[in-house]
Symmetry: C2
Subunit: 107 residues, 2 copies
């Protein structure tokens, strides 16, 4: 389904990673997530944007919305130490699986 | 929960409107959705971005990701004729309810 994932191919990938955070773990999650946002923006090649959002009507819904130049730069990010570390920490804060969609822009 | 929705207040609202489209209705949905994207970008004040995305591993998942200068401009959009018309048309194409989150950016 993913075309154009050759190195350097510019097929922008948008990621929406939505999580429900335990009510008593929101502050701890925010700290870890903000560190991940900072590390990713500073270190990961091909990262166009990487931002943390909170649902305006449910403070437990916290979502990272990302843009990557191509699938390969996203793959590199997911192997990075700061990402791997964050995923371990996040596990203690999340309720259920979370929902991650990788998108390509149509218009 | 939403603060700063006074007129002109700049509290950017990000919307992720995710729908599952019936497999045999994707083309028709795309046509209607692209028209909505065009109308919205052309007509609606306070619209920062309004784009249509398709999940790279499930072509039935079609999502509009939006940015608005404030809640009020989003509210105006949802009263607009082109939006109301699109919602009527979309009903025939979607499976289930769809998922809409309104977000504020944290970092």
């Amino acid at each position: 389904m993913i075309n154009g994932n050759r190195k350097g191919d510019y097929t922008m990938i948008k990621v929406v990673a939505k999580q429900v955070i335990k009510a008593d773990k929101i502050e701890e999650f925010l700290q870890a997530a903000k560190q991940l946002v900072q590390d990713t923006n500073q270190k990961d090649a091909g990262c166009i944007s990487y931002d943390l959002y909170q649902d305006v009507s449910n403070s437990q819904v916290l979502t990272i919305i990302e843009e990557w130049e191509n699938k390969e730069s996203l793959d590199q990010h997911m192997k990075a130490e700061h990402f791997q570390k964050a995923m371990v920490v996040f596990k203690d804060f999340t309720e259920g699986e979370g929902e991650i969609n990788l998108y390509q822009k149509l218009s």
